[in-house]
């Protein structure tokens, strides 16, 4: 019986079946050359095992542990986000709702110019009422009414906008038309500054037009027109609240 080289290696490695092993052992007893080969293979295997240097790799291992830590951190974040994604979305949504509510109800009452423009746009510029009727309507709605002099009342309306009583008067003089918005109670307008140092009038911009804002007898008055703040202040001087 012949034995091949691969079988001899498998014999040395202990990878033969009991039957194959017995066959090889029988042949080894009778063939010296075969025994010599087995010894050679075995000593070679042991030699490589002994001499293959043991690797010093502490630095590389530390780098691996750092990488694993980073993976764990990333996993932690992913886990948190995937587990609480709906909760986070809900919290953001709630924050937006609460923020909106606070802005509307708990704020200091200051209004942005855009809000004034929006409120004013909800009232008609002109009405079928005569000026006297309009003033009477405003007076009955607010308890008092601004009465302009040296300017004509050409229209206006009074009504409820966003739970506020608001009046709008359309005025006219030789220089053009003006709008007077009347809101009861203190209304502070953001982004305004005094027309002049010590002036009772504040000025700002609404709808790309200059405006002056002032308070009189518990009414907030906003006069809007395409003219300078000083000129608007001059018109405001001629508005009395009665």
């Amino acid at each position: 019986m012949m034995i091949d080289r691969e079988q001899l290696h498998a014999f040395v490695d202990g990878e033969l079946t009991p039957e194959e092993k017995a066959q090889v052992e029988a042949l080894l007893d009778s063939q010296e050359a075969l025994r010599h080969q087995v010894v050679s293979i075995r000593s070679m295997k042991l030699f490589v095992q002994e001499k293959a240097s043991c690797m010093v790799c502490d630095t590389e291992w530390r780098a691996c542990t750092l990488r694993l830590k980073e993976i764990d951190k990333a996993r932690g974040v992913e886990h948190f986000v995937s587990r609480y994604a709906w909760g986070l979305c809900g919290a953001f949504f709630l924050a937006i709702l609460v923020g909106g509510h606070v802005t509307r109800t708990v704020s200091d009452g200051s209004m942005r110019p855009g809000e004034v423009a929006r409120i004013a746009s909800n009232l008609p510029r002109f009405s079928s009422q005569e000026p006297d009727q309009l003033l009477e309507s405003i007076g009955s709605a607010m308890g008092q009414t601004p009465v302009p002099s040296e300017v004509r009342i050409v229209g206006g309306a009074v009504g409820h906008v966003e739970n506020r009583v608001v009046a709008r008067m359309q005025l006219s003089d030789e220089k053009g038309t003006l709008s007077l918005i009347v809101i009861p109670g203190g209304v502070s307008l953001s982004g305004v500054r005094p027309v002049a140092p010590g002036s009772r009038y504040l000025t700002g911009r609404i709808d790309d037009l200059n405006c002056v804002v002032w308070e009189d007898s518990g009414l907030a008055l906003i006069l809007i027109g395409d003219r300078s703040p000083q000129a608007l202040g001059g018109v405001a001087d001629r508005v009395a609240v009665r």
Binding site: E6, K45, E60, R67
Partner: protein, 184 residues
């Protein structure tokens, strides 16, 4: 297993630290470059950690070496593109001189040092070297080597036989070159 569930990284690191010298050594012997070996070993550790919940709990070292070998075969060797010594097929492998020699092995190799053995290992073609490393250096069984290299056991046997023969020839050449023996 309860511990493993509680702190999988700690459980993994505990096992991986023990076998890391084998992982890194195998990576180094396969790639022949410390830098690439670092990359390969680290990648293997990461892959193993990510798949740790699928480890069957039997032989961690064999499992790790299987990952290293697979990574090397699939990634590093493809990357190298150029002609590979390891591309020699079984039939065309260099057949070394007869293993029978009049010079006793001990006399031949005893004076060689570890670095020279590593050098000689590097001269063995890729596929054969892989089989020799996994069997002789790491002590893996034929079945484990077959699983790691994704080849049949018959191929493992032939690669081991030829790989060892080539290594023996390389070591003998070394011994002769260094003057440890006068003739082989």
């Amino acid at each position: 297993m309860l511990f493993a569930k509680r702190n999988p990284r700690e459980a993994f690191e505990k096992q991986a630290e023990k076998v890391f010298p084998s992982v890194f050594g195998t990576a180094l012997r396969l790639t022949r470059s410390r830098e690439e070996a670092e990359d390969l070993a680290q990648e293997a550790i990461v892959r193993a950690y990510e798949a740790f919940d699928r480890f069957d709990g039997t032989n961690f070292k064999a499992w790790m070496l299987r990952i290293v070998t697979n990574l090397y075969i699939n990634r590093y060797r493809k990357k190298q593109r150029g002609p590979q010594m390891g591309s020699l097929d079984e039939e065309n492998a260099v057949e070394p001189a007869s293993e029978e020699t009049e010079v006793p092995d001990r006399m031949l190799f005893d004076r060689l040092v570890g670095a020279e053995v590593e050098e000689a290992l590097g001269k063995v073609p890729d596929d054969f070297r892989m089989a020799v490393i996994l069997s002789d250096v790491e002590g893996m069984s034929y079945q484990e080597i077959a699983d790691a290299m994704e080849i049949p056991i018959g191929t493992v046997r032939s690669r081991l036989a030829r790989g060892r023969s080539i290594l023996r020839k390389a070591l003998a050449d070394y011994a002769l070159q260094e003057g440890y023996v006068k003739e082989v």
